[in-house]
Symmetry: C2
Subunit: 210 residues, 2 copies
DNA sequence: AATTATCTCACGTAAAAGGGTGAATTTGTG
DNA sequence: CACAAATTCACCCTTTTACGTGAGATAATT
């Protein structure tokens, strides 16, 4: 098992990254480069006939993205180990990939040692998260937990306010009284610690609540 | 002149991209790979002793970014041709790099043909903008031209409003009367075609005006 | 079952914003 | 210089928000 090389495939729309991986793997006898693709479609075509042990996968692919490709591949080939390879420094992407069957997440600025370690780790069936990715997830969780929990109604009112509607118009739309809408806005102010509509909409925008 | 190969240097914090370029250039006899760096600092160190004809440069580098590095290099080595190599699909970056002395802009998803063409083009002293980059600039210019031109004072008032200040507070801060601030806000409403503060701050956020 | 959270509504006052109109002064530009 | 744009200010009136306080009804959670 440890004698035969790990067969590695790569799908990335950046030719340069493909070539880079290829070059790196060629200098390591324990790996065998079995193919590459620029798009998810071509990757799927490859796997109908051939196989690999580990696939390095970019997230941002044209048309079908990495997340979709990931879920398809894990379903069809449960033994295939997927290692996400991306520049995306947003925790949501990391989370999505791992939820869809990826065994690891690597940033493209990784050095050779880290890449080798990542591939061998996921090949063994263990998860691999680069230190930066772990950090990112932790920080984002912190931020997320600092966002006050708004109720369904409050979120509803918030987006309507942001759309420019007055309390009167909102009350008609939601079939409640103006005073009720007023109450929700007061609660929004309290929860988000603002004192007027301008501040409210600004921070709501920053928190992607609208 | 066409006999001696074009000496190419690359600075990019992604090792994989470096390796990819290296691999591509090795298969082309008209190019000579003379070195690479992961950071701007190491790049500058290299150029104190050695030289190159064309430098491929990523924009997002740790610490010192590509724009700074670009302006330094063009000043010290006017004959050096800089080719920006980036995944950044924001027109501002393209514009900044070209303003700071870059001769070309290439996306990292470029294929071999395009990369070769880009290098040879900038080596000849001509500008090279990949089709996508040109498109992007054109589209952004269109969008930009659709944003109403706000006066200096209006922008000032806008950010103060977004910060949560009332007309009274703004008037004190700017040493003008409340009526004046009121006027500016009315003009903002007219120009941005909104009818209240909520809408104003929302679209201002979307247009990156605050 | 008991407690808590959410949603609802009411009333009153004060503060702020919205809307219209007009106009003087300064600044910028052809 | 002349014309346009920007900045400034005033006054009126209406609408909308903001803020406090209290409270009943329903849904969710322990």
């Amino acid at each position: 098992m440890s004698n035969s090389p790990i067969r590695v495939y790569i799908v990335d729309d950046h030719l340069l990254v493909q070539e880079g991986i290829k070059a790196l793997l060629q200098s390591e006898p324990s790996f065998e480069f079995v193919g590459s693709a620029l798009t998810a479609e071509k990757c799927l075509t490859f796997f109908t006939e051939q196989k690999a042990d580990v696939i390095l996968m970019d997230i941002s692919l044209p048309k079908m993205d990495g997340v979709q490709l990931c879920s398809i591949l894990t379903e069809k080939f449960p033994s295939l180990k997927i290692l996400a390879l991306s520049t995306h420094n947003q925790g949501t992407y990391i989370r999505k990939m791992m939820e869809n069957g990826a065994m690891g997440y690597l940033f493209k600025n990784a050095n050779k040692t880290e890449i080798v370690k990542a591939i061998t780790t996921v090949f063994r069936g263990e998860k691999f998260l680069t230190y930066d990715a772990e950090n990112l997830l932790r920080q984002e969780n912190l931020l997320q937990s600092q966002i006050p929990k708004l109720t369904k109604r409050e979120k509803e009112v918030l987006v309507l306010v942001a759309s420019g509607m007055t309390n009167g118009q909102i009350s008609e739309k939601l079939f409640v009284s103006i005073d009720t809408v007023d109450s929700h806005r007061k609660n929004l102010h309290t929860k988000l610690n603002v004192k007027n509509t301008a501040q409210l909409i600004k921070i709501a925008g920053e928190l992607n609540l609208i």
